[in-house]
Symmetry: C2
Subunit: 294 residues, 2 copies
């Protein structure tokens, strides 16, 4: 299946714009008091990301036969932004996607509170999701909270923090990335599919797709951190090495890391088989991620 | 209605123990990997607090005619601990309730992540609450998230942070404490009452009680910060003045602050009238808070 990259890019850009519109419509207005925190929230959310997680939410909903609500899709961006900005506080990173980080602009105290506010706002919005015959509101909330919690996303950040300067093996790095990155990608797909009342078989398919894709995505991110300049990346390059973090290229070497990314992407593709033609856009995204220049 | 303080104290201690047992049973075990974060969560939650918010949850459930689940009551302690420990990171406070703060023991990065984990865990538990005929799971989640968010609790922290060193008037301080303290007390009562399927009249009664009580509680806290030693308080005394924070005593003077606390407590009492005898324990607590030696 040859992918028309330009067609895909404009499709993704259009979906991303719907997410941006929802973010703008539903995040508290910047002049709402106390205005500093609401400005900080928007600074962190409108930072030029690809809106990958919300788009996956919408595509999984589509693959399960329904449109998907951009307002619900957008909450993955709240959670993602909260993670990044607290990460930046912890790592004392000054640059993110080519822009000064939240704590550089608003101060460390405000950045901590801003992450808390985004986390909390995600649940305020998710609480409004319409239940389906198969899935209750509590199911959505529980999945998001468990994914964001100490045994998954935050657990991965902790392992990452504690692993700095230590020799980690491949298994340890895989565990970090499964929890830190892949889990949230999988959950964005799962919640999208659940919002469309997906059958268990379809839900399982997008889950396995998300986990493999997330891991592939992270391997590629590690590779790019080694091979690209800060300018191209839009963030401080080489910071993994500077922080003495274990990465796939550091352990496996570049070539083996590239093969690992390709293998994971094929495994993501196979996971989508039960969804047949409904998952073509998800396949294209996986394919697209593999042709990034790394 | 004369209060038997010793009887009330042992009643509250018994309720607090049920909450402690639920916290111990349902927080991730300390040896669960990654263990540092789970140890940090327990360090922050088991720090000798009075469990006021969970106890209010249970008493409001009782006032509305049902027992109340300690596991659900306990999540207010997650949220409260998360707020305190992120506050301590922001304020660089080393001592809390006579013990070293989370960031002193586990480092700043872990303390930021620990607060995030506690926040998120609160929603993971709340997602499991049983809906009632009047209130759906989403109603509980939305209330907690809105109370914890940028327009209430976090908004109050922001106003507090931004108010340091500035001359604030009484209205501004009231707004800070309404959002930073009273809102969460009111919500712990509301969710307890909702879990017991409270009528709108009863729900309104505990809400107004909680707001007045929360404000009274904060006025008293301000007074104690001026009048007590660090040893008695179990935290650094005089830190409001040291941080140049506007407080009730600083603006109104001590005597007027004491009268304000008494007035707010009477207003809290009146709010409970519709609940009649079912709210006796709540009345006793309000009375008890007023006889603290301030």
């Amino acid at each position: 299946m040859p992918v028309d990259i330009n067609e895909l890019k404009s499709y993704l850009a259009a979906r991303g714009k719907r997410v941006d519109a929802a973010l703008d419509a539903f995040l508290p207005r910047p002049n709402r008091r106390p205005s500093t925190i609401h400005k900080a929230m928007r600074h962190s959310v409108f930072a030029g990301g690809k809106r990958l997680r919300p788009v996956l939410y919408l595509l999984a909903a589509a693959a399960a036969g329904s449109q998907g609500e951009p307002r619900q899709a957008a909450i993955f961006e709240y959670l993602h932004a909260a993670t990044l900005l607290h990460d930046d506080v912890v790592d004392i990173s000054d640059l993110r996607r080519g822009r000064p980080t939240c704590h550089k602009v608003f101060g460390e105290g405000m950045a901590v509170l801003c992450g808390d506010a985004l986390l909390t706002e995600a649940f305020a919005v998710l609480a409004r999701i319409r239940p389906t015959p198969r899935y209750r509101t509590g199911d959505f909330v529980r999945e998001l909270a468990e994914t964001g919690g100490s045994r998954k996303l935050i657990g991965g950040q902790v392992m990452d923090l504690e692993g700095e300067g230590k020799p980690l093996d491949k298994g340890a790095i895989v565990r970090i990335h499964e929890t830190k990155t892949a889990a949230l990608l999988a959950t964005s797909l799962r919640l999208g599919a659940m919002s469309a009342n997906a059958t268990p078989v379809r839900l399982d398919a997008v889950t396995r797709f998300g986990r493999a894709l997330g891991l592939a995505f992270q391997v590629i991110d590690d590779i790019l951190d080694v091979t690209q300049s800060s300018e191209t990346l839009g963030k401080t390059a080489g910071k993994d090495a500077a922080a003495d973090k274990a990465t796939f290229p550091a352990i496996l070497g570049l070539d083996a890391s590239r093969r690992e990314a390709a293998r994971l992407t094929r495994s993501a593709m196979r996971a989508l088989d039960p969804l047949r033609g409904n998952a073509d856009r998800l396949r294209q995204i996986a394919d697209y991620l593999l042709v990034r220049e790394y």
